[in-house]
């Protein structure tokens, strides 16, 4: 990451520069239903797609909080771009591959953009050479510009799912180069429209066993706070900046509208309205509190991983809970801002409108669903829970 004068810029400085460039491109991004090629190149060239790539593989391997702040900045500028950026950090999953294999990946495609679709929607038939993989995966954000796909699959033998000692089907993730991946154009949506989250298919590709991993149950092969807690914590870290950035943008717009809109016949601005004053304090406090909790929880997790090399489920659950809370808070803040800003925000091109559609869409991600909430509740209450999912 170098700025104009050749001095290495911090990722956050870079993000701020790129954020300015995103200004006014929202409609185009939505129209394209994915990030336009020049912006993909910008994210690649500026190193923003490499925040989570392990340092040993040529990446930036940023501090977790830095990732959050960069994603926040880009999501604030354009939610779809922010989502594409955070999902585009899938190169971090290379930390779960055998280091030699991971090196092969980056030798083949330096600083790779890795799309991911973790649901075990594929099947991989065991062969002596690896897995014969076929399947169709939905919601694969950024698939069109990715170099690799990480995709979940069920292991089969003679077409029958292989089960482990407890009788459950064995699942793994396969890393497949994009040359073997077909994009099926399905992404016709109202929210996160610009993320190109199409379906992808793979048909009968042979994936060598070392190009697969089981990150839900296996620890990462590399140390460091990004990977050392759990795969799920890695994912939540990538996501945390999104609601914070979108919520912040909604409040930016709320501030602007409060000063710009004039109440008739008094001629005073909306900002003079007690109802608006109270709403803006409440929204600001809620969003800032949500952010402060993310920072605190992530700080705690980082500290624990750095000092012990791993993190207990309770500490991971607190990070996840803080990100869920950020998402819920952002949704409320965006709705309040939208409702307070009147009819002009009804047009599709209005940033608030996009915040509304995009935050609602992002909150539908399975990581933010009620199963996740219950899981975190069980851990909070000290009950048995599937801890591989935190």
């Amino acid at each position: 990451m170098n700025n104009a004068t050749g001095v290495a810029a911090s990722p956050l400085d870079t993000a701020r520069l790129v954020a300015v460039e995103l200004d006014g491109r929202g409609a185009e991004i939505e129209q394209a239903r994915g990030l336009p090629p020049d912006l993909v190149d910008r994210f690649r060239d500026s190193g923003l797609f490499g925040l989570a790539l392990p340092r040993t593989l040529g990446g930036a391997e940023c501090a977790p909080l830095t990732v959050v702040e960069v994603v926040e900045e880009i999501a604030r500028a354009d939610p779809s771009a922010g989502w594409t950026l955070l999902i585009g950090q899938g190169a971090g999953f290379l930390a779960w591959l055998d280091p030699a294999t991971a090196s092969e990946v980056v030798a083949h495609t330096p600083r790779p953009v890795v799309a991911s679709s973790m649901a075990p929607a594929g099947r991989g038939e065991q062969t002596p050479d690896g897995y014969l993989l076929s399947g169709r995966w939905p919601f694969t954000s950024g698939c069109a510009h990715s170099d690799w796909l990480m995709a979940g699959f069920v292991v089969t033998r003679d077409g029958v799912p292989v089960t482990d000692e407890s009788g459950r089907p064995v699942q793994r993730m396969a890393f497949v180069p994009s040359s073997e991946v077909t994009v099926v154009d399905t992404w016709r949506v109202a929210g996160l429209r610009g993320t190109g989250s199409h379906d992808v298919t793979v048909t009968g590709s042979l994936v060598p066993r070392e190009f697969t991993a089981d990150p839900f149950f296996e620890p990462a092969r590399l140390p460091g706070p990004l990977y050392g807690a759990s795969m799920f914590s890695f994912l939540m870290t990538m996501m945390a900046g999104f609601p914070l950035g979108v919520g912040r943008r909604a409040l930016d717009e709320f501030h602007v509208a409060a000063h710009r809109r004039v109440k008739q016949p008094a001629g005073t601005s909306m900002a003079e309205e007690p109802v608006v004053q109270a709403a803006i304090v409440r929204c600001e406090s809620r969003l800032r509190a949500a952010r402060a909790l993310v920072v605190e929880s992530l700080g705690r997790l980082t500290e624990v991983v750095e000092s012990t090399g791993h993190a207990e489920p309770a500490v991971r659950a607190r990070l996840a809970a803080s990100v869920l809370h950020a998402m819920e808070t952002a949704r409320e803040v965006v709705e309040t801002a939208l409702h307070s800003c009147g009819a002009s925000s009804i047009y599709a091109t209005h940033p608030l409108q996009r915040c509304f559609r995009d935050i609602h869409a992002a909150a539908q991600h399975v990581a933010f669903g009620q199963e996740a909430l219950k899981r975190l509740g069980r851990i909070e209450l000290g009950l048995p829970a599937p801890v591989f999912l935190v």
Binding site: P138, R188, A343, Y347, A348, Q370, E371
Partner: protein
Amino acid sequence: MTATALRPLTAATALAGAVTAFAARAETERTLPAELVERLREAGLFALGLPRALGGLESPPGELIPVIEAVSRADASAGWSVLIGNTSAFLAWLDPAAARAIVDRTPSPVLAGSMAPLGTGELVEDGTAYRVTGRWPFSSGCRHADVLMGGFVVTEGGRPVIRDGRPLMRVGFFLPDQVTVHDTWHVAGLSGSGSHDVAVTEAVVPVGRTAVPYSEPSHHPGPLYRLSPYNVLMVLFAGFPLGVAARALDELTVLATGKQRVGARETLLADPLVNTDLVAATAALNAARAGVHAVADEVWRTVESGRELTPRLRAELAAATIHAFDVGRDIVSRAFRQAGASALFDDSPLQRCLRDLHAAGQHIAFSADSRERLARTWFGLPVPPAIFQV
């Protein structure tokens, strides 16, 4: 039996399937398809608010509200278009001969446009007509309207005429050939309602085809026209959120009955987080509906018996409609959230409910300003002047 002979609610229910079937096309065309408009017109659904003397149905609120609810439940954009089309009720404020001429030209005319005084108009030399220029946004249904309203400030020698310290305002009722539609309706919500800007340039409108519904009484004796224009609008609005929110709950129930969430053993419907929320939402919606009807019925009894509507009762009617919007908005957000990722796609009615109801909620009638005026009216405090008085 012809379609128009059916009770409006029966007709609306009979048309519901067709309305739903046209929903996607309405979104694509960004206005109600002409074919659907014709069927709604034939079914008499654009004549609900029109005075009986002008060939309309002059439906009491208790009958009108469920009709709008039924159409809105089938498709929000259609429901919105039908309710706005029924502002033909405002023809009751027009000189009876002029109104007669309009319905002679087009029986059960569809109205569109806005009373907001965004134009200017000056008497022509012989004093028989106004020459009006102006542009009005958010003119739902303008593509198929037979009459378009436009509020204007009366000028003399190019200067606003001031009466009692305020500019003198009138509303012109224009014919489609006088009006230019500016294609502005690129929106996320209520996309199928064709709420473009409309404009007239030096359009000559006979004095008789202008009215002062802001402050003058109507020319028709029916009890519906004893309501203030604001209250007429509130009655027309009331069924909309009830229908859209009911649709969202319908959709969620269907989805939850069939769907299992990833990692869950039972259907979504068996999850107490889902089923108790569905019940609570339905109870809240039923209460909002009952609340609207209770006050609408009281209003109706009052005007039917020839008594004046007190400011408090007028305010209560508006408050019941606003409450229905608030409850409805909350319900579509919750229902969307419960539905998970499958609700993201453009062909999911749930996401359309979300977009449509939040868009409608941006109408100025639900702004902080309007709520404050309403509250001041309710409590008998002095109310700052505005176009519409409660």
